[in-house]
């Protein structure tokens, strides 16, 4: 299970500052269990965003956003509901956000910070990995995680070793920042590339006492 925590209202408002029409996509897997995608939270947020003059064009729930088949059935088939939105706010762990950003050409924003791995991982971790860092920046990086896709986990990339889209570390390995650059260009968000991203808080990766006390965390208790 991936433990996620809804970002603060201020943080979400900041992320959505430039957006007008927003679609909510919620995962009912781990994030539902962590209450970062519960109906109550979504209702609260919808209310707050509406009072800021935003339009919420609709909502779809998917049982597991890390499951490609479910995403295709439940999300892609409801295209009429999200087609008109400027962006998709995803209530899930970092795997879910990256899964969605990979299949649609729209801006995808994370509503939560993914904190730590608490038992089992989602079923789509292969290509779109989440480091459970608690500092989700997928809103600035076109839904591609710089921590896991860059060999140096750089927040301001690419480094000088990036060569024609390839990483210096290994032939055939994609440069994560090149992928981010290409995708930001494709969705007209290159301005996000220019932002200098704030430092990562590594202490957020440490599991909290209450998490460590849960049965799914300490399986041998």
């Amino acid at each position: 299970m991936l433990v996620s925590e809804l970002k603060s209202m201020d943080e979400i408002k900041e992320i959505l500052k430039q957006e007008q029409k927003i679609f909510f996509l919620a995962c009912l897997g781990c994030s539902d269990a962590c209450k970062s995608s519960s109906k109550e939270e979504l209702d609260n947020l919808e209310e707050a965003l509406k009072s800021d003059g935003k339009t919420i064009t609709g909502r779809v729930d998917v049982d597991f956003l890390c499951n490609k088949v479910l995403v295709k059935i439940k999300f892609l088939r409801n295209k009429d509901k999200w087609e008109g939105a400027d962006s998709i706010l995803v209530f899930s762990c970092g795997v879910g956000v990256q899964a969605v950003s990979k299949i649609i050409r729209k801006t995808v924003y994370p509503a939560a910070n993914t904190k730590n791995l608490g038992g089992f991982q989602g079923v789509w971790p292969g290509e779109e990995r989440c480091a459970q860092c608690g500092n989700c920046v997928l809103d600035l990086t076109a839904g591609i995680c710089p921590y896991t896709s860059c060999a140096k986990s750089m927040l301001n990339g690419p480094c000088g070793g990036s060569n024609e889209g390839e990483c210096e570390v290994e032939k055939g390995r994609d440069c994560g920042w090149y992928l981010i650059y290409e995708r930001l260009k494709a969705i007209n968000k290159l301005a996000d590339f220019k932002k200098i991203r704030p430092l990562r808080d590594h202490s957020r990766m440490l599991p909290k006492k209450e998490t460590r006390g849960l049965d799914f965390y300490a399986i041998d208790r």
Partner: protein, 288 residues
Amino acid sequence: MSFKEKLKSGKFIITSEVGPPKGTDIHVLLEDAELLRGRVDAINVTDLQSSVMRVGSLVVCHLLKQKGHEPIFQVTCRDRNRLALQSDLLSAYVLGIENVLALTGDHPVLGDHPQAKPVFDLDSVSLIQAIRKLEAGYDLADKELQGKPKFCVGAVVNPGAEPLEPQLIKFEQKIRAGAEFIQTQAVYETDKFVNFIEQVKQFKVPIFAGIVLLKSAGMARFMNKNVAGVYVPDNLIKEMEQTKDKSAQSIEIAARLIKELKPLCQGIHIMPIGWDKKVPLVLDAAGL
């Protein structure tokens, strides 16, 4: 005149570099630095270049400073987290080192300890920000300093990178973060460099074109295959192949490149990669 003052004066700047050895014998390095006395405006000291374990940049900068040279302390983010980086910067200032070149650094897997943990807690951009913050009297945790440093901060760029745009955006971030001068990766193609300068001249930051001495045709081919954004054109490879005197030919090519690049930028940075003793000869041949 300090390096910073020279930068401000608009003088054409010449820098070169020395690479600390693997082991404790540094007399060759000090000899090489001696040959640069009076010929260059500052000497970069590389920081575990190519991710190979060696004597550290800070200590060598200190020794150069003691001997009256003007060192540029190269700092990479590969091996130190934000505590160690900030601490080394304060230490450098305490030792009278005033110039810093901020780099991300090569990944450890490219070096001689590929098993090492890569740090990269900061990157080149956030390192520059950290330096500026220390200068303002605070560390990255917003704690006040007792006495603050003052540096002349440089950064690097690769004018031959493909694609160039993401690197140009990164370049802009470095300038915004506070870089005062830029040293470039090796340049062998003047036309590509002209295009690069065209795109960055709006930032009005002094740029020193990078010159790497070609030691052989084989080295040129190796760089073309393995070094990001560096391309040695065929005609130069042919010259190195056909010459009877590789050293003289290398010096001639470097001097020719310097003469071509000089009108386009504000300085040059010579990276001799082992051929340190030839740097004065290159400068002679280039009329500098």
